[in-house]
């Protein structure tokens, strides 16, 4: 799971078969989406992303972006 930030991105690596790691990742996901972060499931080779409303440990690569605003 990648969260875009000032450092580029902060990765949270978890084992989908490890309940503790999954739970920690889920908490991070919930905390950030509650703050307005947008979550996406992305596949390899640039296939179009899909919006994620709920944490999915089997999603593969998850990217969370900060909320956007008009410039």
């Amino acid at each position: 799971m990648c969260v875009l930030d000032q450092t580029g991105d902060t990765k949270t690596i978890f084992d989908p078969d490890n309940p503790d790691e999954v739970e920690a990742a889920r908490e991070t996901f919930k905390k950030l989406t509650k703050k307005g972060y947008l979550a996406y499931k992305v596949k390899k080779d640039g296939e179009k992303g899909e919006a994620l409303d709920e944490f999915d440990p089997k999603a593969g690569k998850i990217i969370l972006t900060p909320p956007l605003r008009g410039g």
């Binding site: 640039g46 972006t65 900060p66």
Partner: protein
């Protein structure tokens, strides 16, 4: 003998007469005393006075200036100068080290963001980005957008012929590397172009006039 009180423009003005005048003032006045031909004794200790005493033939006894402004700085000793210079050089060095560290962190962040962006692009988009620092994204509603590397005003909506018709300005509320900005814009266009249009500021791009045949 006139006695001046505070805030007096002329303390004493005498002409062609025998007089002795003295003026003692301790206030802000323009002229302490103005005598033409007489013997004047002017002793003034005022704070902000333009002319203390003006006489043509008189004998000025004494004029004491005392200013309430900042006193002249004391000259530094050689040792004090050396200490100040050493402190200045140390501050410069600390600034240089901090700046180097910040530059290195920024470069690391930019490289990281570039790697993430490339991992979200198709081969065609990756090649276009490498060549032009821009790539085209097809939004969920079928509209095509060109995303150029940048922070603001870097998204163009393309018409069916590939000409830019609108420019959009939209970016994360937090400061992230420019490549991350492209990732966020691309993902939003691919999943919710209506939200993209709602959030972004749009500027129409003037189209060249067509000449009637």
């Amino acid at each position: 003998m006139p006695t001046c009180s505070s805030e007096t423009t002329w303390c004493t003005w005498t002409a062609n007469c025998t007089t002795s005048s003295s003026c003692t003032s301790t206030a802000t006045i323009v002229w302490d005393q103005w005598c033409e031909t007489e013997t004047c004794t002017a002793t003034s200790t005022a704070t902000n006075t333009v002319w203390r005493t003006w006489s043509t033939t008189g004998t000025i006894a004494s004029t004491v200036y005392r200013s309430n402004r900042m006193p002249a700085p004391k000259p530094l000793t050689a040792e004090e100068q050396a200490t100040l210079e050493a402190e200045r050089l140390q501050r410069l060095e600390e600034y240089r080290v901090a700046q180097e560290k910040a530059d290195a962190e920024k470069k690391a962040a930019d490289d990281r963001a570039e790697r993430l962006l490339r991992s979200t692009l198709t081969l065609r988009q990756r090649l276009a980005y490498r060549r032009n620092r821009a790539f085209v994204v097809q939004a969920r509603d079928g509209t095509r957008f060109r995303l150029k590397k940048g922070w603001a005003g870097n998204v163009e909506e393309l018409d069916p012929r590939g000409r830019p018709v609108n420019r959009f300005c939209i970016h994360p509320r937090e400061l992230v590397p420019e490549a991350d900005n492209l990732v966020a814009q691309k993902l939003l266009l691919e999943t919710d172009p209506a939200a993209f249009r709602r959030i972004a500021n749009r500027t129409a791009i003037p189209q060249p006039a067509t000449v009637a045949a």
